[in-house]
């Protein structure tokens, strides 16, 4: 059996990237909420780990000059869930953070670890798509960012390239309005069966993203356009029908694909009702 041969604890992002570049078998360790659980279950047996927990530049939430909110990759879910700056449309991200797992695990898990994991049942991915977030990735050769909808590629697959780490999540400046995250789960803290994230600005611009109904967050510019302004009942019906058509859910232990298709439009209508 493979044995963990090293645990590195660098204090700068550059040092972490160098350690990962030196050893192709090394894996980055964020809060441990998923990676260590997988190691305990022997699903993963990394040869070396590079812990990101001592890197100050990866921590905390701050507002940049142009109003962009930068959430460092190592920011714990409990910090994001309690951040008063995530208000108006950005409340969708705060609400999603507060519904991940339970209070104890929220003290451990990080936003960077969560988005890099990219499980379709996670809470952050649809909230970040609805918030029009960008994911910042850093490598030894530079920094780039992609919109959340481009970042999530498939089941457990992101646009991260070898040698890159998620370094931050960038949220556009909060716009006056509402952001809500609705989650249907078997019990509090479980992965979502279906989740609906929505932002609505006070001028009526709507962005919707659905979790649990496909390999990546489900969103569609046409649907966003239909739901913006003051949509009629028929327009909302058309938007729901379009999302159900685009959905690609699976049957699993949490619910059947047919059930997911059935509850998703109901959740969307409920979320729309609360956001107006």
């Amino acid at each position: 059996m493979a044995e963990l041969q090293g645990l590195y604890r660098p204090t700068t992002l550059r040092a972490a990237l160098e350690l990962l570049a030196q050893d192709a078998e090394a894996r980055p360790l964020a809060g441990g909420a998923t990676l260590v659980a997988m190691m305990n279950a022997r699903v993963l047996e990394p040869r070396a780990l590079v812990s990101l927990g001592s890197i100050a530049e990866l921590r905390g939430i701050r507002t940049l000059e142009e109003g962009t909110v930068r959430i460092g990759a190592f920011t714990r879910h409990s910090e994001t869930a309690a951040d008063p700056g995530l208000s108006n449309t950005l409340a969708v991200v705060r609400e999603a953070a507060g519904q991940i797992a339970n209070a104890t695990v929220r003290n451990m898990g990080t936003i960077g670890g969560s988005v890099a994991f990219a499980d379709p049942g996670l809470d952050y991915p649809p909230a970040l798509v609805a918030a029009n977030a960008r994911i910042e990735m850093t490598s030894l050769t530079g920094v780039r960012s992609l919109s959340a909808s481009e970042f999530f590629v498939d089941w457990y697959t992101t646009a991260l390239l070898p040698g890159e780490l998620v370094s931050a999540v960038l949220l556009p400046a909060a716009v006056e309005g509402v952001g809500r995250y609705h989650k249907l789960a078997r019990v509090a803290g479980d992965y979502a069966i279906v989740s609906v994230a929505i932002t609505r600005s006070s001028t009526g611009a709507v962005r919707v993203a659905v979790g649990g109904c496909g390999p990546t967050p489900l969103s569609d510019e046409g649907v966003n356009t239909l739901l913006s302004g003051a949509p009629s009942t028929q327009t909302i019906d058309a938007a729901c029908a379009r999302l159900v058509e685009l959905a690609d859910p699976v049957d699993d232990v949490r619910g059947s694909a047919a059930y997911r298709r059935q509850v998703m439009p109901r959740m969307l209508r409920s979320a729309l009702g609360e956001s107006t």
Binding site: E3, L4, Q5, G6, A33, L49, T104, V105, N107
Partner: protein, 162 residues
Amino acid sequence: MKSTDSLSLTLNLNNATVQTQAAFADTLLTVLRDRLQLTAAKRGCNQGVCGACTISIDGKPMRACLSLAHNCVDASLHTLEGLETDQTLRALQSAFEQGGALQCGFCTPGMLMAARALVQSNASPTVEQVQQALSGNLCRCTGYRKIIDAVRSAAQSLRGEP
């Protein structure tokens, strides 16, 4: 290949500096229970779901089973064993005992650690707030009602109310 089974490890545990050995892959839970014979934290699921291994890391309740021991060398760790004189913990223990809030007892140490964090930050938790704070701690005996009542009763006594 160099053996990494028993690397030297120094922890700040229960207000003392503790020297022990651990492999890189050993979790804090393994070190606490199997090396240091501190068995209050329990190994239930080893997946971060059941909450039986909840301990305090830098003042916050976290999962010992999801924490690699060698990654905790800078942290201040507290287990139930180190909180004998903690007023909040004693009030909770007393309320659990008087309210019959445990049967087999396996979940109790984790429940106490999670409840302690709640009561420290919220002196008057509602039923819903207790439910939320303990939602990551599974109990297969009590049905939770008596645990919730005990936490609120402990909070009440800590507020100095009869």
